[in-house]
């Protein structure tokens, strides 16, 4: 169950994760996968590559070919102007969701409530 939940969650945040990764530096498909994994996100190549294609098609990413010493030319992705704006918007959305979840977490709010009750007591 936790794995299935992680997978669902990852699907939702993959776009933001890709925009964040490419905001740091332009990169190609497999390197992006490695950077996401290094950051602690367990992503599959099979979901990252189509997502990159999709983001490029809607204009959030640009791409260009760079010659590689170890094989065929690699397609490097970078954020477009629209992509940079989308990243700011997506990050703001993520903060809103994250803050809301934080407020809903009973473990996080319990000490504050307990303190208030102690103060109210005669």
């Amino acid at each position: 169950m936790p794995e299935a939940f992680d997978s669902q969650l990852m699907r939702g945040v993959l776009t933001l994760a890709l925009l964040e990764t490419l905001a740091a530096a332009e990169s190609y498909g497999f390197e992006i996968v490695l950077r996401l994994r290094a950051a602690g996100l367990d992503v599959a190549e099979g979901s990252v590559y189509p997502a990159l294609t999709r983001l490029e098609r809607v204009g959030l990413l640009t791409s260009h070919l760079v010659a590689s010493t170890s094989g065929p030319a690699r397609k490097y992705y970078a954020l477009s102007g629209v992509g940079r704006e989308a990243r700011v918007a997506a990050r703001a959305s993520w903060r809103r969701v994250s803050d809301a979840l934080q407020r809903l977490d009973p473990d996080a709010t319990a000490p504050a409530v307990a303190t208030a009750r102690t103060e109210d007591a005669p």
Binding site: Y28, L34, A44
Partner: protein, 172 residues
């Protein structure tokens, strides 16, 4: 690269190509297959080719994911096909109706001359039994409009607008 690894990758890409055929434009498909080959070769350098190919997941699922990104383009050919199908369908139906209509006129002892009918302009037909039998059927302007609507419904030209809207949604 070993022959076995090369065959493994080529076999996967061939299956993917077949699964994407007709769902993704050919030029885009060639580009994405080339990119996938490059990325998988890079992944194989970090491990092994079987592991790199396995990490891509089932070819069918990957094809579905890629095709998802191309559902936003108008399907003009399918739209044309749908429009023509409606036109031909209406024409055949009107011919059948005309024959039934003529048979009804004859069976009811109708007087000689031209008899015609129209159902909202969609189905039209005439039956003439003066000198020899003349039967004609077809569709009028409403039928043409219906075919146009069917064509547009299937072609989905508004998906171009939705694609722009998606970009806007991501910006604001």
């Amino acid at each position: 690269m070993r022959l076995r690894d090369r065959l493994l990758l080529s076999w996967y890409l061939l299956r993917l190509r077949l699964l994407l055929d007709g769902r993704v434009p050919h030029r885009a498909m060639a580009r994405l297959l080339g990119e996938l080959r490059t990325n998988t070769l890079a992944a194989a350098e970090h491990g092994s080719m079987p592991a790199a190919v396995r990490a891509l997941g089932p070819a069918r699922r990957l094809a579905d994911s890629y095709a998802e990104g191309f559902t936003d383009r108008p399907r003009w050919l399918r739209g044309l096909g749908a429009g023509l199908t409606v036109l031909v369908g209406l024409f055949l139906l009107s011919m059948v109706c005309t024959l039934v209509f003529g048979w009804g006129v004859e069976a009811g002892g109708g007087r000689p001359g031209e008899h015609s009918f129209s159902v909202l302009g969609l189905l039209q037909g005439s039956y003439q039994s003066d000198n020899g039998l003349t039967v004609s059927g077809g569709t009028g302007l409403p039928g043409l409009l219906l075919a146009l609507l069917a064509g547009l419904w299937v072609a989905r030209p508004w998906s171009l607008r939705r694609r722009t809207a998606l970009a806007d949604l991501n910006t604001h």
